[in-house]
């Protein structure tokens, strides 16, 4: 029983680690989509953030500079997206796709030019990464049964970026629902004319939403390559940006709900690696591909209205013209 408890705790622990990039990207997606901009470019921003974080950290030796550079790179990608679909009213899906493909090509080309390692960046030493932080009194808490283990395994010991992701959720909810900017942001995604007629710039509101999204994606990318991993490898984001987008939809474009969706998808991912080849009584062995496909299946079912009713922002995908 104690062994099972520990296994479960370790799975929750892995859930948190795997959900971190999803949570950050989902918050980015919420900002951009609530402002009325479709954001399939989460994937590309995540990938470029991951590459720049690892590359700059490898060159400078400082993960902090790496993190800052990742945020800059990801925001730059956001600005291209904004330039195309806010300033020039281009198609948001096409623009997002262009960014994903550009990120895929650029990370490898620059990676090869800089490091000559076939697109990888050099492995970072443990000082050059954001490592787990041991919380105060872990050893003391060990004396308390169960709670001590939970404290040690689940609450303490994550990297700073994981805690940042967890803080990002209430922060997003606060900005969206409790500030004037958030009110305007939600309005611009529903009825941009109303914001415009109140004398507020639609374009600048949307640009700011994309920039905030870029910051979150940059942190998520840095988490992948200089915290969770120790270097950048080709196509490191591996569809996580799209899963985050699925979580945004699954969470009905709301921060807290999207956060739960990310945890669910992260849990599926964590459970998959533990259930591989395990015979479950009555069910048998579950194909891991099926487990991995669940986020996509539930998103399709949800969008089709088979489970609940999605309510996307009304003006999403429509370029605003005065």
């Amino acid at each position: 029983m104690a062994d099972f408890m520990l296994q479960l705790l370790l799975t929750f622990d892995a859930t948190l680690r795997l959900a971190t990039p999803l949570i950050l990207c989902a918050m980015a997606g919420i900002f951009s989509e609530r402002s009325g901009i479709v954001d399939i470019s989460l994937e590309g921003k995540l990938l470029s953030g991951a590459f720049v974080a690892a590359a700059v950290t490898a060159l400078t030796g400082s993960p902090w500079i790496g993190l800052m550079a990742a945020i800059c790179a990801s925001v730059f990608m956001s600005l291209i997206h904004g330039f195309a679909c806010i300033t020039h009213r281009g198609d948001q899906v096409v623009s997002g796709l262009a960014i994903n493909i550009l990120a895929s090509g650029l990370t490898i080309i620059i990676g090869i030019a800089l490091f000559k390692k076939g697109g990888q960046t050099p492995a970072l030493s443990s000082d050059e990464r954001f490592r787990g932080i041991e919380w105060f009194g872990v050893n003391l808490m060990d004396n308390i049964p169960i709670i001590g283990t939970i404290y040690r395994q689940l609450i303490s010991g994550h990297s700073l970026l994981v805690y940042m992701a967890l803080l990002a959720v209430p922060l997003c909810a606060f900005i969206l629902y409790r500030t004037r900017y958030g009110l305007r942001l939600r309005a611009v995604g529903e009825k941009p004319e109303s914001v415009d007629s109140a004398g507020v710039s639609v374009a600048w509101l949307r640009y700011r939403a994309l920039i905030i999204g870029g910051i979150f994606c940059g942190i998520a990318g840095a988490y992948l390559s200089i915290s969770h991993g120790a270097n950048f490898v080709r196509e490191m984001s591996a569809g996580k940006g799209y899963i985050a987008l699925a979580a945004v939809i699954f969470g009905n474009w709301r921060p807290i709900k999207a956060f739960y969706a990310c945890l669910l998808f992260g849990f599926l991912d964590a459970a998959t690696s533990r259930l591989q080849g395990v015979d479950i009584p009555l069910i048998g062995e579950i194909p891991i591909q099926l487990m991995l496909a669940i986020p996509y299946i539930v998103t399709v079912l949800l969008l089709a209205g088979f489970i609940g009713r999605p309510t996307p922002p009304a003006a999403i995908g429509v370029p605003y013209e005065k």
Partner: protein, 372 residues
Amino acid sequence: MNVTPPLPKWADLILLPLINLFAAFFVCGLIVLAIGENPFTALNVMIKGAFFYPESLGYTLYYTTNFIFTGLAVATAFHALMFNIGGEGQAYIGGLGAAVVALLFGPNLPMLIVLPLCILSSAAFGALWALIPGYLQAKRGSHIVITTIMFNFLASSLMVWLLAGPLMQQGQQSPQTVLFADAAQLPQMREVLGYFGFELANSPWNLSFFIALIALVVFYILIWKTRLGYEIRAVGKNQEAARYAGINVAKIIIIAMAISGAFAGLMATNEVLGVHNRVILNFTAGYGFTGIAVALMGRNHPIGIFLASLLFGALYQGGAELDFEFTSITREMVVLIQGMIILFSGALAYMFNPSLARLIARISAPKEATDG
């Protein structure tokens, strides 16, 4: 005055796309320069690699074949104002369709029956994989872009499971099917032309190229010469107006998506029936996404799609050559070019429009004044 004069038709159809293409290459050239290589040398290597070696033209046309299919897939959906990002998954499932027929009937039936069945089956499987998102969009209101993205991942999961499980070759470790029987292998262009006395260098160019050319003609007739095509374009122009004109919009969307998926599925005739002669993991290799660039550049017209496919075919083949000539720039350069082309020809398609229109108006204005 801030009103832009309308762009003449020739400028809109030829000049503007060329300017956008040039802009895309220009930015890529700057990136090559930043890496410390000469962009003109790189371009030279690519052009040589795409056309000048004995086998290179065959390779270029082999890639072109893929892009014609996936470009047509995106274009068909575009005409109904549907954005089909799922070409990649539809082509993958199309490969499954070809494999099912080839594995079941290949060993027992003659080629003249098996091959057409394989081709039809790949189109049908691709159509089915696009029909579901089409149905969900038309009847349940889910967004086609998101659904087709999800269906790409679903196709990938399904195929990994099949190729590493039920369909895997016995006694092998790599996730792929067994080699198809001879009856289910498309003849190589080298053999066919050799029969007529033409000597061709070795390349994977095969008969599916002709299927692609036929598909271009079918696409043209379908979209511009049939009632269905008219209805598809009507739905794409204005759904409300189409509905008032008595067109069943939901039905047209579903049909357009199915046809779109069928074109994507046909890509398997090249990769699966013509080249690998088995289904291998990730044989689609991103060609489905390139179809989006092809359709955008080709302006959803068969001639444009053919030219754009040829360009991308040359880029892919020429890009492979970069690996041999340079240490610091590789074939991923093509991915970058592709991204830039989607950005400039797609998302920023009309960035140069106002300034170009004003320029043309200024050049032609004095002439009109003297005419008057």
